[in-house]
Amino acid sequence: MNGGSQAATDPGSGRGGPAQPLLTVRGLVRHFALPGKLLGRSKAAVHAVDGVDFDVLKGETLGIVGESGCGKSTTARLLMHLINPSAGELIFDGEKVGSRELPLREYRRQVQMVFQDSYASLNPRLTIEASIAFGPSVHGVPRRQAVERARDLLARVGLDPARFAGRYPHELSGGQRQRVNIARALALRPRLLILDEAVSALDKSVEAQVLNLLADLKQEFGLTYLFISHDLNVVRFVSDRVMVMYLGRVAEIGPSEALFSAALHPYTAALTRSMPSMDPDARTEAPPIAGDPPNPIDPPPGCRFHTRCAFVADACARRTPVLTPAPAAVLPSARPDHRAACLMLEPGSGHPRAPAAPAAAE
């Protein structure tokens, strides 16, 4: 039984055809109600994810970045259906998740996740072989074949099955454990792999090894990655497209190089300027952004970023920006798939720097 060659499929294949996004997220919302006073429900809620729309294209790596608390991990857990969304829907390869065509169980077989804490995500009482074989046996693969698949995957992720299959998680190093977690996630032969800070806890040299392993596996198994991280350099290295989140909303989304070289949103610009540089002459002297993100229990009205934005205008507190591409007049190199939620890009938004309304422009 060869797990690799069977699972390796052309990333463009699948029911919906290559142009159909693998995963479409529409209006995803998750509010966490705060414990209320004695008797009676409280009205206050943490707006962890507050209206997020995006697509994950087949075969790509979509990076998600943002400060801690911006809703990255909540988004990942919502996509896995580990927590239920307050609103919004997921469409996986043209089929609504949870519908009769794609029941949750079947969806979960196709979407898997690697967690940040490599130790906490392995059952300390199970051998790593048993941990990897658990998923397939839940989905009806006979015990023997599940174990065989587990050993095969261990070899794929660079761990000699003869030496490692019978070991327990505490006998492995952090990097080895994360390889096991990747193998466990791949055991169900998923099409989409969500990597929630999967390499953040590893030291730098091990991190590089695991990133290379992920790149190889993506090729071999025809995977699509959703790569969540706070490390901008890593995200830039691995991602085809990047999505920037701020306080539960998408601030900017676009092709990786375009986004990092010509940020459209002031928040993204501040983030890219905060990236440490290898060049001692280009060191960051002044903090590009000050203060903490506002409280997600009571997020600011209008644009979420206006409390910390250098270009803030009166309109920012009144009007909620939508994702718009940069007008060609402002940025000739603008691409239609590079969009940001900023009033400065919206024609006629009332922001002094915004382009004129279309009617006036004509």
Binding site: R108, A120, P124, A165
Partner: protein, 296 residues
């Protein structure tokens, strides 16, 4: 000169097996001298209790008014005689049966019931958790001694009722421990990962929760055995548990207390046995706890 390297075909992979969790616990437990000694005492008492008919030198029920309250070391009666002239050694040996029964049975039954309820509450969470935990809290409101006495009193004296009331006393604390440990385990990423792989609640509990939860609950329960023995002795002392002429340690302590000024050493013997047995259970439980507590 060309050295010929021994080129052998690699042998078929030999799969290494790591030491399992329980064998590593056992290895650490064996190195803990106090725990080993405590276990030896427990095993000795269990063995004596099982073989009481063969080990006891005399009939524990046959008394003689002429040789009442003989001191320790009397010829033929190594530990003296009680207030009815019965052989103390034989009575203590036969009493081990009763005391172990009263100590272990309620805890064992409460362990099964309490674990089930606690794991259910911890894993289900939400409303089910609230219902189970708040009902348990009702029982928690009473001090355990008082509750045991009150229940036994209400149910009527007798061995069965004493066991039942002790079981009821021990269910709430075990439920609490089970619930706390399960809630903790439920939040771990490996349970999330198991949910993400599409496993049902029952499978997750069986594969991922039980193995990580039963150990700590069991350790806690072993610690309760000594409490149960002491409470059982207390019930018997009050006449609510085992009835005379049965040689239960608590009951013996009760009947001998009138002789405390006549022959204090003999009168103290059942108390010593209760003390030794319960401390052995406590020390063993402590050893088990540290052997199982692997912060890795």
């Amino acid at each position: 000169m060309v050295m010929q390297l021994p080129l052998t075909r690699p042998a078929a992979p030999v799969f290494e097996r790591s030491e399992g969790y329980w064998s590593s616990v056992f290895r650490r437990l064996r190195r803990d001298r106090v725990a080993v000694a405590a276990l030896a005492v427990i095993l000795a008492i269990v063995a004596v209790a099982l073989l009481a008919d063969y080990v006891a030198p005399a009939d524990p029920y046959r008394g003689a008014t002429l040789r009442r309250l003989r001191p320790i070391g009397t010829a033929g009666f190594p530990l003296g005689t009680d207030e009815l002239g019965r052989d103390m050694l034989s009575r203590l040996i036969h009493g081990a049966r009763w005391s172990l029964l009263m100590g272990v049975t309620p805890v064992l039954v409460a362990f099964v019931l309490g674990s089930a309820a606690g794991i259910l509450a911890g894993f289900a969470g939400g409303r089910i958790n609230t219902v189970i935990m708040r009902s348990v809290d009702v029982l928690y409101a009473f001090p355990s001694v008082l509750l045991a006495v009150a229940l036994s009193g209400a149910l009527g004296a007798g061995l069965g009722n004493a066991l039942l009331s002790l079981t009821i006393v021990f269910v709430p604390p075990i439920v609490r421990v089970a619930e706390a440990v399960t809630t903790q385990v439920r939040g771990r990423d490996y349970v999330e990962a198991a949910r993400a792989s599409g496993a049902g609640a029952f499978t997750i509990v069986r594969v991922h929760v039980l193995g990580n939860v039963l150990g700590p609950i069991f350790v806690y329960a072993t610690g309760l055995v000594s409490v149960s023995m002491i409470l059982a002795s207390g019930l018997s002392f009050l006449g609510l548990g085992v009835r005379p002429p049965e040689p239960e340690w608590g009951l013996m302590l009760n009947t001998l207390r009138t002789a405390i000024y006549v022959n204090p050493w003999v009168a103290a013997l059942p108390g010593v046995m209760i003390f030794v047995t319960s401390i052995a259970f406590n020390l063993f439980s402590d050893g088990l706890r540290s052997a199982m507590d692997v912060k890795r």
